[in-house]
């Protein structure tokens, strides 16, 4: 869904951006999504300040306690406050999500740029490698990479980053091909503007939008993927916890103490939904044909 809006050469246009935001704000979804995202980021940054208890403090005498005033989301199987762990878990889950997508955007974007721009054999080689990574069953790839890179969040982030790289490489390459085909780029080249400058001032700004859309959706998927990987035994090292590993650790207690699962589950769900709204809103805003 490449936008035709990006036809004009990109110069910072404040009023155009303002129009986008205004259009996005028409439905309640986008502001909700944005609010959720900001809340999550705030929770991650302010965790030490806002969490009611120490997320690591165990109290085996009060394990699996129901939610009450002292523990709004109850306690887990070793007596830790679930709400505090959910708040601190924001850090881990967001790191997993944003970290892996950052790696994918950087690596994929670079590869796509090089491939699209250089063309020929380089393009062929790069895209074949990307195809190979894409054809690999993603869970197996993440699992094997995780085992090689060693236990822990870093391993998962890198593994997911690798898994998502081809998506961004393809996206970037597509953008590069579409944009460099336009006359004004030829003109710039004819005028002797060096390649990297063309890339910098023409290609990148126009490619940003679709990449941002994809990135926001990918962050949502990465957060979910991290949850799935913790199901298979990969991920953040205890006693730290991501929402995914909390859900996974708690699923054996679903019948006795469902709050262990639903606390982080709700946080996960709401954040992922919020990210989707934001991504959708950006995409809708950029597509002129969807103007109501």
């Amino acid at each position: 869904m490449v936008t035709t809006l990006a036809a004009a050469p990109a110069r910072p246009l404040p009023d155009r951006r303002w129009r986008l935001i205004r259009r996005a704000a028409q439905s309640w979804l986008a502001p909700f999504g944005a609010a959720v995202l900001l809340l999550a980021i705030a929770a991650a940054l302010l965790a030490p300040a806002i969490s009611p208890h120490d997320p690591l403090k165990q109290d085996l005498n009060h394990a699996l306690a129901r939610p009450d005033r002292a523990h709004p989301m109850g306690t887990d199987n070793v007596g830790r406050d679930v709400l505090s762990r959910v708040i601190w878990g924001t850090r881990v889950s967001l790191t997993a999500g944003f970290g892996s997508v950052a790696i994918a955007v950087l690596a994929g974007g670079l590869l796509g740029l090089v491939a699209g721009y250089a063309g020929g054999r380089v393009d062929n080689l790069v895209m074949r490698v990307m195809d190979a990574v894409l054809s690999f069953p993603p869970l197996v790839l993440a699992l094997a990479l995780g085992a090689v890179l060693g236990a822990g969040l870093t391993g998962v982030v890198i593994a997911l980053g690798v898994v998502y790289t081809p998506t961004f490489a393809r996206l970037m390459r597509g953008q590069v091909l579409a944009i460099t085909a336009r006359e004004y780029v030829d003109a710039a080249r004819a005028l002797g503007v060096p390649g990297w400058r063309v890339a910098w001032s023409h290609v990148l700004p126009n490619a940003t939008a679709p990449i941002v859309v994809q990135a926001s959706l990918s962050v949502a998927f990465a957060i979910l993927a991290e949850a799935s990987l913790s199901f298979l035994g990969l991920g953040v090292q205890p006693p730290g916890a991501s929402w995914g590993s909390m859900i996974n650790a708690g699923r054996g207690y679903l019948q006795q103490a469902p709050w262990i699962v639903f606390g982080p589950g709700a946080a996960l769900f709401v954040t992922v939904v919020g990210l989707n709204f934001v991504g959708d809103a950006i995409r809708d805003a950029l597509d002129p044909r969807l103007r109501a």
Partner: protein
């Protein structure tokens, strides 16, 4: 169904208390000798059993996995069998004698036929031992290493000539190393025996079919030699269900009748469920952590002891294992005759811990990493231990790995402290020798301990025949182990097994193997 809550954990747990407490809940399910003796067993029905993985092979000589044994104990039979008190009773061997410490003479049961119709006799026994020793992929070689030659004295008498005295041999022969496979079938079928064991055993059930990844079926042996009691069931269907929550729910929904293990976290709820019967089977297992003696920090004995004094075993057993088990004083479980109740488990003592830290040159504490398997209960245990050690000033980092990596790290001595959950063997030798004896090269002695006193005790325990003598040796060993600490022992777990109320006649034996000979369905 009374829930077992050991609210106050006695420091000296007598073996009888352990067994009684554990078996109390199983009274209703006990065999013909107890409460349900009045009900007449009904023939027929298919028992559906759920295990967490499926069997790996049907050839007991090539088998390395615990789940295989569950099936074997129904279709094959060993020379000798275990009873509830871990006593050794006649199996395919009616009686035995040991004229000297290097000879065992078995008198075999007559009139037993393999499922393929051939006779069970001394030639068959000789064939089996030779196969275990010479078959290239045999996993039993180490277990029968003490056997030098096997003589056929007459059709039903076999003489084993041992290279050295081996007091643990008989106990080893109650499992795979003593299981008799039909020579005719083994020779005819070759490697196919691993997939298809039709005709190969002598047991109350016959191998029928194995649809890999789906189910394994065994059928009643109507020609079974033992006419007392069962078998009653028409057939038994084993199914692998990897997720233990789903497994439990399958039982609760009636899709399976039996499951081999209930997670501690589910035990209380399951015991309260009227649709399920739980039997607590005390096990032979010891769950511990091995400490690496070959490198810092645990090459330093004082630091090892600091860790041991910082642990609160009672809190771990209560909080993590929910009292499904008892704190461990060493590798020998309370179910064993060798268990010494007078040796208490190491109690938490932060003052001593701090003193040991100072003695070890780290008064301010130190940091190390524990490597453990990435399963929920291990993670929980590690987190609790982490918190306990932190109170003594010791920082423990947790490294979660999958089991292949755990084995690699253990075998390669690439760890500071590593989780080791040993399922246990009927003879105390099985829980000790291979872990604590000085062994060059790769072995299960992951800690790398090499202590001449321990070596001497272990060797002697194999030579001495008298149980009384051996028990003294194991007591000495346990005290030494508590000092040297190649491992920090945590718990002797109980293995709760769960059944549909329709299942009758189950007799729990502490080795955790589910024998269905006398089981019937209401």
């Amino acid at each position: 169904m009374a829930a077992i809550h050991l609210e106050r954990i006695p420091t000296d747990i007598s073996r009888r208390t352990f067994l009684q407490a554990a078996l109390a809940s199983g009274a209703a399910l006990a065999g013909p000798r107890r409460a349900w003796a009045q009900e007449t067993p009904k023939r027929g029905g298919t028992l559906r059993v759920g295990f967490y993985i499926e069997a790996a092979t049907m050839d007991p000589h090539l088998s390395g996995s615990k789940i295989d044994r569950q099936v074997y104990h129904n279709i094959y039979e060993p020379l000798v069998v275990l009873d509830t008190n871990l006593g050794i009773k006649p199996g395919l061997a009616e009686s035995w004698q040991q004229p000297d410490s290097r000879t065992v003479i078995f008198k075999l049961r007559r009139g037993v036929k393999f499922h393929d119709g051939t006779d069970f006799n001394a030639e068959a026994v000789k064939f089996n031992f030779n196969r275990m020793k010479t078959e290239p992929k045999s996993v039993r070689k180490g277990e029968v290493a003490s056997i030098d030659t096997v003589d056929v004295v007459d059709a039903y008498t076999v003489k084993l000539n041992l290279k050295r005295p081996d007091a643990a041999l008989l106990a080893t022969l109650t499992d795979r190393a003593g299981m008799m496979v039909s020579p005719k079938t083994a020779q005819e079928r070759g490697t196919e025996l691993e997939r298809n064991a039709k005709g190969a055993g002598t047991g109350p059930f016959v191998f029928a079919e194995w649809v890999k990844d789906d189910h394994l079926l065994i059928r009643r042996n109507d020609a079974y030699w033992n006419k007392q009691g069962g078998p009653y069931l028409d057939q038994i269907r084993y199914r692998p269900i990897p997720d233990d929550t789903v497994k439990l729910q399958s039982l609760q929904a009636g899709e399976i009748h039996v499951m081999d293990y209930v997670q501690p976290r589910d035990v209380a709820a399951v015991k309260a469920d009227r649709n399920v019967v739980v039997v607590d089977v005390p096990s032979l297992a010891d769950f511990a952590y091995q400490l690496n003696h070959t490198r810092p920090p645990f090459d330093n004995k004082a630091l090892r002891q600091a860790v041991a004094y910082s642990l609160d075993l009672e809190q771990i057993v209560k909080g993590v294992w929910l009292n499904v088990g008892v704190p461990a004083n060493g590798p020998v479980p309370p179910t064993s005759w060798a268990y010494d109740r007078s040796i208490p488990f190491i109690k938490r003592d932060l003052a001593k811990a701090k003193a040991k830290l100072a003695e070890g040159g780290k008064p301010g504490g130190f940091t190390f990493t524990v490597t453990t398997n990435n399963i929920p209960i291990n993670v929980q245990e590690a987190e609790v231990i982490q918190a306990q050690l932190a109170e003594a000033g010791i920082t423990m980092k947790i490294k979660l790995v999958d089991s292949a990596t755990l084995l690699a790290d253990g075998n390669g001595r690439n760890f500071d402290m590593i989780s080791y959950q040993w399922s246990g063997r009927p003879d105390p030798d099985g829980n000790t020798y291979q872990f604590f004896r000085t062994t060059p090269g790769t072995s299960l002695n992951w800690s790398g301990i090499s202590n001449p006193q321990i070596d001497a005790l272990l060797d002697r325990s194999r030579e001495v025949g008298s149980q009384v003598e051996r028990k003294k040796l194991f007591s000495q060993l346990t005290r030494l182990l508590q000092d040297e600490l190649p491992m920090v022992f945590i718990i002797h777990p109980i293995e709760p097994k769960a059944f549909s109320p329709k299942v009758q006649g189950y007799d729990p034996i502490p080795d955790g193997m589910m024998r269905f000979k006398d089981v019937w369905l209401k």
